[in-house]
């Protein structure tokens, strides 16, 4: 199931909330939430829900064994990590590996083409955070299977994050503030996220699709409109979904970590990755970068660490070479910033901001391409190398019909918008209520009628 559907908003969510709020006691509430979360997941994956249940059981027992057999802790940890990665690797990367092998060796091995279970990248990473941090003795083992299952499956963050590390919610599983006040706060946040997704992301995505600049030859104008459309789509899509997740969590009394912090206002690529998909960056830092030595090593080793982490970050986004390249692209940029740019004395902020946006959006060009042919089309069109004109009728048409939307996209990416939301939440509540009801209304209009409703980070 997805949050941006009438089924979720008008049936699933109210039913869950009513039961949750009515039943007394934390235990009952946890059970309600767990059951609804399983239904939520099974709705989208009626068969692979079993895989997730097995993953939960496996990680639960890894924790239990680590506790009960302390002499074998390290071995159990490694087993747990390997099993989790094996499952993720098999379902996600098997096809890619086979294709690479075929390409290198000329064999014709068949890739079984398994469909990717929804959310597997997210819940596997969450399970890993539990297992690894348990080993590091950051908390005690979770003896209650149902509480552990709730941690993994909680539907607000199950399918698309934020990636919630176990230590962030450990206490909340047992004790949290469930109140109508939190219900209201959560609703406000949820509706903002819904509006971002349905009003901004979907429409900007349609602009990108219309441009078709990754497919054939287009004018430079068309290409840049398409690229901007995609760049804004993915931001509003993903940050909107995170807003909805955080809002939903709040309705149930949970405080989830923020995932986006006005990333398009960044003055450097380094800063960008501290503002975009923050929980993923934190995860990689905690569980890969720091164990590798982080930056407390010689420069060459540090560079290697960065490249490994960013290669993996790229691959996490998708099992294809373009994602790997996208990750490495950022790894190289980050190294360049650290060892070259940041050593310069004078670095005008505006230039930094502009170059960062340029780097990020060109990065999206790599991200959105599904093949080398598409990469060639994308960059050929963007820089006028593929024979397209500077502008043409199609591009002007797109500009006229999508220009205002792009302006909205840019406006809502500004820091002032986030400040406005927080200001409304804290000071001008009546205005917040009014704005959010209006947004809900408008969002319903699009939910009811729009068939084009993809979620880009869905298959990760």
């Amino acid at each position: 199931m997805v949050f941006s559907s009438t089924t979720f908003v008008f049936f699933f969510l109210p039913a869950c909330l009513i039961l949750y709020l009515l039943l007394p006691g934390n235990k009952a509430k946890n059970i309600v939430l767990l059951l609804f979360s399983l239904v939520f997941y099974a709705w989208g994956e009626p068969v692979y829900v079993i895989l997730m249940v097995l993953s939960i059981l496996m990680n639960y027992f890894v924790g239990i064994f680590m506790e009960r057999i302390p002499e074998w802790r390290k071995f159990i940890l490694i087993t747990g990590i390997v099993l989790n990665l094996a499952v993720l690797g098999f379902f996600k990367y098997y096809g890619m590996v086979i294709d690479l092998l075929n390409g290198i060796t000329g064999l014709q091995l068949k890739a079984h083409g398994l469909p990717l279970p929804i959310g597997i990248s997210f819940y596997t990473f969450q399970a890993l955070s539990y297992v690894i941090d348990l080993y590091r003795k950051k908390f005690n083992v979770q003896n209650n299977l149902f509480r552990f299952a709730l941690y993994i499956t909680m539907f607000p963050q199950l399918i698309a994050g934020p990636i919630v590390r176990y230590e962030e919610v450990e206490k909340q599983l047992e004790q949290r503030t469930v109140s109508f006040e939190n219900l209201g706060k959560g609703m406000g946040r949820f509706i903002f996220g819904l509006a971002k997704k349905v009003l901004l992301a979907n429409l900007l995505g349609a602009l990108f699709e219309r441009s078709g600049f990754q497919l054939g030859t287009t004018s430079v104008l068309t290409a840049w409109i398409g690229l901007l459309g995609f760049g804004f789509q993915i931001f509003f899509d993903f940050s909107g979904y995170s807003d909805m997740a955080i809002g939903l969590g709040k309705m149930f009394g949970f405080d989830f970590p923020e995932n986006f912090n006005v990333p398009y206002a960044s003055g450097s690529v380094t800063e960008f990755w501290r503002r975009w998909h923050m929980t993923l960056g934190t995860w990689f830092r905690e569980y890969v970068y720091i164990p590798l030595g982080g930056n407390r090593v010689k420069a060459w080793r540090h560079a290697l660490n960065i490249l490994i982490v960013w290669g993996l970050t790229g691959l996490w986004h998708g099992a294809a070479v373009n994602f790997l390249l996208w990750g490495l692209y950022y790894g190289l940029l980050l190294l360049f910033e650290k060892y070259v740019i940041f050593r310069l004395k004078h670095w005008p902020k505006v230039l930094g901001h502009f170059l960062t946006l340029l780097a990020v959006f060109l990065g999206w060009g790599l991200f959105l391409s599904n093949s080398f042919g598409e990469v060639a089309s994308v960059f050929g069109n963007l820089f006028g190398l593929s024979g397209g004109a500077l502008y043409d009728r199609e591009g002007l048409n797109l500009l006229l019909s999508g220009g205002i939307l792009l302006l909205f996209g840019a406006a809502f990416s500004l820091p002032v918008m986030k400040k406005a939301r927080i200001w409304m939440e804290e000071k001008e509540l009546l205005l917040l209520v009014f704005v959010s009801i209006a947004l809900l209304f408008l969002s319903i209009a699009f939910l009811v009628t729009e068939n084009y409703n993809p979620f880009l980070y869905f298959r990760f």
Binding site: S5, F10, P46, G188, G403, I404, L430, V448, T449, E450
Partner: protein
């Protein structure tokens, strides 16, 4: 402190209010009866999903439920128009290939044609006509609204020339064909301020069809006749409105022309053994939940055979698209028999039309856009 308490109270009220709204929406949805058909969108609406082990495990129950909940949402038309108004406000003037023009009309801008398909269609027509030896073979290829209103189209909308297609096709058709250039006639009609095309539908108006008919009657020998005009509905919302979701300020009226000749009567038989109907008009089409344009012939059918009481021996074979539907009734007095074939639906062989029959005249009646992308016509004509 006080501010905090007020804030808390507002959040509480707001939370409960939102939950109540969502609950209310769900309950309202459950209580409202299901609709089977949407007249505004001209499609069937999703029905309640089937629940069994199979549909659960392959996920079809879930996707059907989602479609069902969206399709049967209460006040669907209201939400749709809210959405279109919002899109219009941010500059959307084109939706699903339909443009919202500055003169408050909808049309489909012409995207151009494939030269090879044009040549193949012409060749098929030429071959067909020379093989069957008609006394007259007519080609009536009609432009659509966007051709005549290029200045009203949104800026930078596609605006390939339909005339270019027409001229290319005319050249490719053999000397057997009388090709009618009705572009000037329609442009003249438009210049007079008359309505040539519907504002919400891709068809030409009955008035336009009549105008063209009259302009050709001398050349063809068709009997002009005398007619009474009747507006059968003044709230016609046509195909382009349904397709795009745009609503225009002024609705369309739909007219039919009744021949005043009392002794003139027609029997229509549908298909080979199908229904028999008296007259060209299906007035059930004007009921609620129906597409009013199907008042002509009841819609598009693979094969319709019209037998008239006209005092003539001439017979006509027509290959057409829906533009012919409002035009062909004008030929009632000029032919004893009219056989109407719609290649999009006709599944038999063209040769079957000539069993025990011959035709004096042949007519190919299409609008430019449909013909320039149609592959069915050449397929049916070309087979031996």
């Amino acid at each position: 402190m006080k501010k905090a308490k007020t804030g808390t109270k507002i959040y509480i009220v707001y939370g409960v209010l939102c939950l109540a709204v969502l609950m209310f929406g769900g309950v309202l949805h459950l209580l409202s009866p299901d609709r089977t058909y949407s007249p505004t969108e001209k499609r069937n609406l999703a029905s309640a999903p089937e629940l069994n082990f199979n549909t659960l495990t392959d996920g079809t129950f879930m996707s059907h439920t989602e479609n069902y909940v969206a399709d049967q949402f209460p006040f669907r038309e209201f939400w749709m128009s809210l959405r279109m108004n919002a899109l219009y406000t941010v500059g959307t003037r084109e939706s699903k290939g339909v443009t919202y023009n500055s003169d408050g009309t909808l049309s489909e801008p012409y995207q151009g044609y494939d030269e090879e398909l044009l040549q193949e269609t012409a060749a098929a027509l030429n071959g067909f006509v020379s093989a069957h030896g008609f006394e007259q073979a007519y080609a009536l290829i009609v432009p659509t609204a966007s051709e005549l209103s290029k200045e009203a189209l949104p800026p930078y909308a596609a605006n390939e020339s339909e005339r270019a297609y027409f001229e290319s096709l005319s050249e490719a058709l053999s000397g057997d064909f009388r090709v009618f250039d009705v572009f000037p006639t329609l442009e003249e009609m438009k210049a007079e301020g008359k309505q040539v095309y519907y504002r919400t539908d891709h068809h030409w108006t009955t008035d336009a069809a009549y105008r063209v008919f009259r302009s050709l009657s001398e050349e063809t020998g068709w009997i002009p006749g005398e007619y009474t005009e009747m507006t059968v509905t003044d709230r016609f919302s046509g195909s382009l409105a349904s397709k795009s979701g745009f609503t225009v300020p002024r609705a369309d009226g739909l007219k039919i022309y009744r021949n005043r000749n009392e002794s003139l009567y027609s029997l229509l038989s549908y298909g080979n053994d199908g229904e028999i109907r008296g007259g060209f008009y299906d007035f059930d089409a004007l009921g609620a939940d129906n597409d009013p344009y199907t008042v002509f012939f009841g819609g598009n059918f693979p094969l319709i055979t019209v037998r008239t009481t006209a005092d003539t021996d001439r017979t006509l074979l027509v290959f057409k698209d829906s533009y012919a539907n409002c035009f062909l009734p004008f030929l009632e007095e000029s032919y004893k028999e009219i056989v109407i074939v719609d290649p999009r639906y006709y599944a038999d062989r063209a040769a079957d039309l000539f069993l025990q029959k011959n035709y004096t005249d042949f007519l190919c009646l299409y609008n430019v856009q449909t013909l320039s992308s149609d592959t069915n016509l050449k397929m049916i004509l070309a087979e031996e």
